[in-house]
Amino acid sequence: MNGKPRIGVYVCHCGTNIAGTVDVEEVVKFAETLPDVTVARNYSYMCSDPGQALIVDDIEKAGLNRVVVASCSPRMHEPTFRKTLLSGGLNPYFLEMANIREQCSWVHPDPIAATEKAKRLVEAAVVKSRRLEPLDAKEVDVEPSCLIIGAGIAGIQSALDIADAGFKVYLVEKEPSVGGHMIQLDKTFPTLDCSACIMTPKMVDVANHPNIELMTYSQVEEIGGYIGNFDIKVRKKSRFVDIDKCTGCGICAEECRMAGRFPNEFDENMGMRGAIYMPFPQAVPAKYTIDKESCLFLTKGKCGESPKCKDACQAGAVNFDLEDEIVEFKVGTIIVATGYDVFDARLKPEYAYGVYDNVLTALEFERLVNASGPTGGKVTMIERGKKKKKKGAEEEAPKVPESITFIQCVGSRDKSVGNEYCSRVCCMYTAKLAHLVKDKVGHDCEVTVFYMDVRAFGKGFEEFYDRVRREGVKYIRGNPSEIYKKGDKLIVKAEDTLTSTPLEHETDMVVLSVGLVPRRDNREIIDLLKLSQTSDLFYMEAHPKLRPVDTASDGVYLAGVCQGPKDIPDAVAQAKGAASAAMIPMASGKVKVEAQTSFVNEDTCRGCGFCVELCPYTAIELVEVNRMGWPVKVARVNEALCKGCGACAAACLSGSIQQRSFKDWQLLPQIEALGVK
C-alpha cells in the first residue's frame, strides 16, 4: 500500500455551491500538474453514490493510494469519504480534504480570487497527502451505563428509556427532589393536562426502577476519561436526615422553630418553609432535608434545649452528624439535561418587578394558580413581606383581582437585554394562564395580553389560541413602555400598534411572561465537560440540523432546554433522541477511539519530561528503557488516554514526540504550499 504515492484529486461542484464561483475545470487542470497526482477529476456531487463510486473505481483501476477531495468542510464529510476509501480497500487515513466551499466559494464572491485560493488549498492538501500514513483506529469496550445530569422531564425521560432498554442509569439531581420546572406548573398547554398528574408517575418510576440509581441533592464534581469509559465523581450533599429512616411524615417540619420563616424556592419564593422541609408534597424521594443555611442548630450551634425536629422524629432519621458523601463510578455515556432558568425580570426596570407587589413573573403566577401552591390555587392579590397575624386575630379574606394583564416577550426577542431569540413557550403558556384565570377566578375577571406577535406554531396551538380569545381574553398588539401605580391600580402604558393609539391600561395585577435563559450556573457543566455554547449561551449541539442531540465530545449528549428553548413535547422528544443516541455505543459495546494520537520516537527522546507536564490527560509517562546498554528515561504515550490534541508535539525540544496525521513532517509542506507567494 505504501511505496510511491499515487494521488487522486476529486474536485466537487456541489451543484453550483462551489462551481458557481470556483472554476473547477481550472482547479483540475492545475491539480494534474502537482507531484504524484495520477488522476484529477471534477464531479457534480462527490458525496453522492456515483461520486463515491468514482473514487472506489479509481482506487481499483488506477491503483490510487492517496485521495484528495476538494469539497465542503472536513467537519462535514470527512467520515463519509473515509468510508469510501475503506470500501475501496484503502486505509481511511490516506484521505485529505481541501475545504473549498465553507472557506472559499461561499465567502469569496470574486471567481478569480476564489479559484486562485481553491488551487492553493488543493495544492496544500496534495502535498500533505503524499506524506500521510495508514492509521489504525483502536476499539475500546463501552461501559453499559449512562450518567444523566438533571432530573427534570428531559432527564427523567432519557433515564426511563435507557433503563427500560436494560442499561444502568445514574440520575443526578441538584435539588432535593426530581421534577424540575415541569412539576412547578399547574396545567400544560394546549391540552390542559394537569402537569403533576402526568409527571408524578414518571417521577416515581425513576425512583423505583431497578436499573436507575437516583442521586438527589447531589452534584457531579469531576468527569474524566472518554467515551465508553468516563470516570465520574458525585458529591451527595448531606441532608442531615437519614434518607433510609425518614418516612416523610412531616412532623419535623411542623415542629421546626423556624417553620414558615424562609421563602420556599419551589414556590418561586411565594410560599414559606422551615429549615427542615420537603419542597412540595409530591416530592421524590418523599424525604425531608435540612437547609444548612437556615437551620438554627447548624448555623448557631444551638436550637433551644435541643433541636425540636430531632426530638419529634419518631424514626430517628434526623442526624446532625451526617456528612457529604463522595461516590465514584464509571459510565460509558453522559446525557446533559440541566434545563434553564427564567429571565430575571429585574433587568427590565420599566416593568417595576420587585417594586410593586402585584407585578409577578409567569412562573410565580403558575404557583399561584396551582392547587399545591402557597394559596392552594386561589388567585389573590399579593402582599409581599406581610407580617403574620397573631394567632386568634381574624384573617382578612385576601382580595381577588378584578383584572389581570399579561405582558409577553419579557426577556425574549429583546436585544436590549442580550436575548435575541424567541423563547418558544411564552405565547402559549400565556394563553394557558389566561384561560386558567377565566376558569378559576371567573369570567368577570378581565384578562388582557400585550403581545408583539403570537407564535402558535405547534400541534393544537392555534386552535387553543383561538379558544382563549373566544373566552374573552383581550389581545392588544404593543410592547408596554412602563408600569406605574395610580391609587390602588397599576397602569400599563403602551401603544396599540394596530390602531396607533397610545393607551394607559388600568389593571390590578400584571404577569410578566418571562423568557427562558441558560442556567446561571451552566459554567459548571462547561468546565466539567468542555461543552461549547451557541451565541445565545445555551449548550451547542454537534450540528444544528443533523446532530441535534450530540455534542462535539463523543459520548456526551444533550436533552431538553439546556440546548435551547423548547416546550414539553419537544423536550421529551429530544430526551428520547438523546437516550437512543447514547444507547448506540452502549448496545454495540465497542467504540472506535481517536487514531490521530501522539507517539514517541524513543531513540531520540531525551527524557526531559516537558510533554509529561503538558499533557492535559496524563497520557504520557516517563519509562526506563535500555539504550545501548545504558538505562535511560524516555516518554511513552498511553494511546487509550491520548485524545490527539498535539500539545506535546508542539513542545518537544527534539521533535521526538509527534501527532499522527499532524506530524511536523506532514504539516510543513502544507505550510510551504500556502505560504509561498
Binding site: C104, H108, R120, F662, L668, I671
Partner: protein, 145 residues
Amino acid sequence: MAENKDFEPNIVAFLCNWCSYAGADLAGTSRITYPSNVRVIRVMCSGRVNPLFVMNALQQGADGVLISGCHPGDCHYMHGNYYARRRFNLMRNFLEYLGVEPERVRMSWVSASEGAKWKEVIEEVSEGIKKVGPMDQFKRRQLNW
C-alpha cells in the same frame, strides 16, 4: 517600510478544529464574505502550533500568520489554547529579536458560533499586516559590494 496601496498580504492561519475552524465554516454557511488572502491549516488544537510552523510560514514568504483557538476556558482539550497563548507571547519577543515585526503574527479567539467575528478578525489582521508591508526580511538579498 514603504506602504504599498496595492499590496495584498498573504496570510497563513492555523485554526483549531473545534472552535475557530468551525467558526470559519459557520462564516461560510452564513455566506459572510471576507478577504480571500487567508489560507487555513486545520490542526486539532491551537496548542499543536509549533513556533517552528510560524517561522516556517514567514520564511516561505507569508506576510502574516494567524493562530486562532477556542476562547480561554473553552478549549476542547482543557488548556491547549493557554499553551498557544504562552508560546505566542514568547514568539513575539523572538520575532522582534530577529528583526521581524511582531505584528505579523497574530492570535485570536473565535468560537464555533462566531462566524461574524471570524470575518472581523480576518479584516483586522489583514489591515494590520497591510500597514506593516510585505515580508521580505527572510529573502536573500543581493549583496552590493
